[in-house]
Every structure is written in C-alpha cells, then in structure tokens.
C-alpha cells in the first residue's frame, strides 16, 4: 500500500469510529442536553476526519480545495446548529435531567 492509501484508510476508519460514538450517545444518553453534548462534538470530529479522507483521495486539486472548504464549513456550522437548538430548548423551559427522574422514565 502506498502512503496515500494508508492515510485514507486511517482517516476513514477514524471518521466511522466517531460517527458510531455519536450515534451511541444519541440513543443511550438520558436527556436532551446530554444527547446534544455527546453527539455534536463527536459527529463534528467524525465529519472532519471523513472529509479529510475524501480530500486526500481526490486526484485533482480543485476537488480537494472544494472538499477542504466543505470541511471548514461543517466544522463551523455543526456546533453552531447544536448550540442554537439547545438554547432554544432551554428558553422553551425544558428541564435538565436529574437523578430522581430516572425511575419514572424507565
């Protein structure tokens, strides 16, 4: 394997790993705020790693530039969107999860 193939493999596997971490957090965590916290960060990192793999895999320099711009856009907007949704939820009056709610939810 060439060095480029190894780089693409490592970045793609890292991106898939962090996407799996994000989905596990989305399904398993108990509360809106913990879910947003767990998924927004790991999903952003998974997106950045996967798009870096795409940028390395492209042959032409224009497509690499476009992919890097898409990477920077997602790196900025993904946490911003999560922050806006969670702040709207807090202003709506959704209460954070506490210990004594655990029994009645399950």
């Amino acid at each position: 394997m060439t060095l480029r193939e190894i780089a693409v493999l490592v970045l793609a596997v890292g991106g898939v790993f962090f996407a799996v971490v994000a989905v596990v957090g989305l399904v398993r965590l108990p509360d809106l705020y913990t879910r947003a916290h767990g998924t927004s960060k790991s999903e952003t990192l998974g997106a950045v790693l996967a798009l870096a793999a795409v940028a390395i895999a492209f042959e032409s320099s224009l497509s690499t530039l476009k992919t890097v711009l898409l990477l920077l856009f997602m790196f900025l907007t993904n946490p911003t969107a999560a922050h806006a949704i969670v702040r709207a939820a807090a202003e709506q009056g959704i209460e954070p999860w506490t210990e004594d709610e655990e029994a009645e939810e399950s």
């Binding site: 799996v20 476009k66 898409l70 997602m74 969107a81 949704i85």
Partner: protein
Amino acid sequence: MVAISDILLGAAAAFIVTSLVGVFRIVRGPTMPDRVIAINIIGSNVVIVIALLAAAIGETGALDIALVYALLNFLLSIAISKFTVERGGVL
C-alpha cells in the same frame, strides 16, 4: 490489496448504517428538540456519504450537491430554533 474506492465505499456504508440507527431517536424522542438534533446529525451523515461516493466513483460534480445540502442542513436547524423561541413552535 484494497483500492481507495473500496475503502471509501465501506466508510459510506458504515455512515448509512449509523444514520439508520439514529432514526430511532427521531421516532422515539420525547421532545421536539431531540428530533431536531437527530435530524441534524443524519443530515451531516448524508453530506459525508455524498462526498465519499463522489470520491469513490470519481464524480466530482456531486461535491456541489454536498455543499448545498450542508447549507440547507444548517439553515433548517437555525430556522427551527428561531421559530420555536419567537413564535412558540412550528411543529
């Protein structure tokens, strides 16, 4: 010996599987922001899958589609979070 396109196609398949698991939270999620968070995550996964497929099959025009999809995904989250605060909900 594994080609680069095989690696990218496998990663795209794994991203699709994680998105299908995330549909659980859209169906189940107790409150509306839960569903919006899950939809936002799945939209990001769709952007990544489009980019991975564009690199795997060599179709560079699909990158523009991915860019527009990322823009619309961000706009959806901002619009819903603004409308829920200022007008008491859109859903």
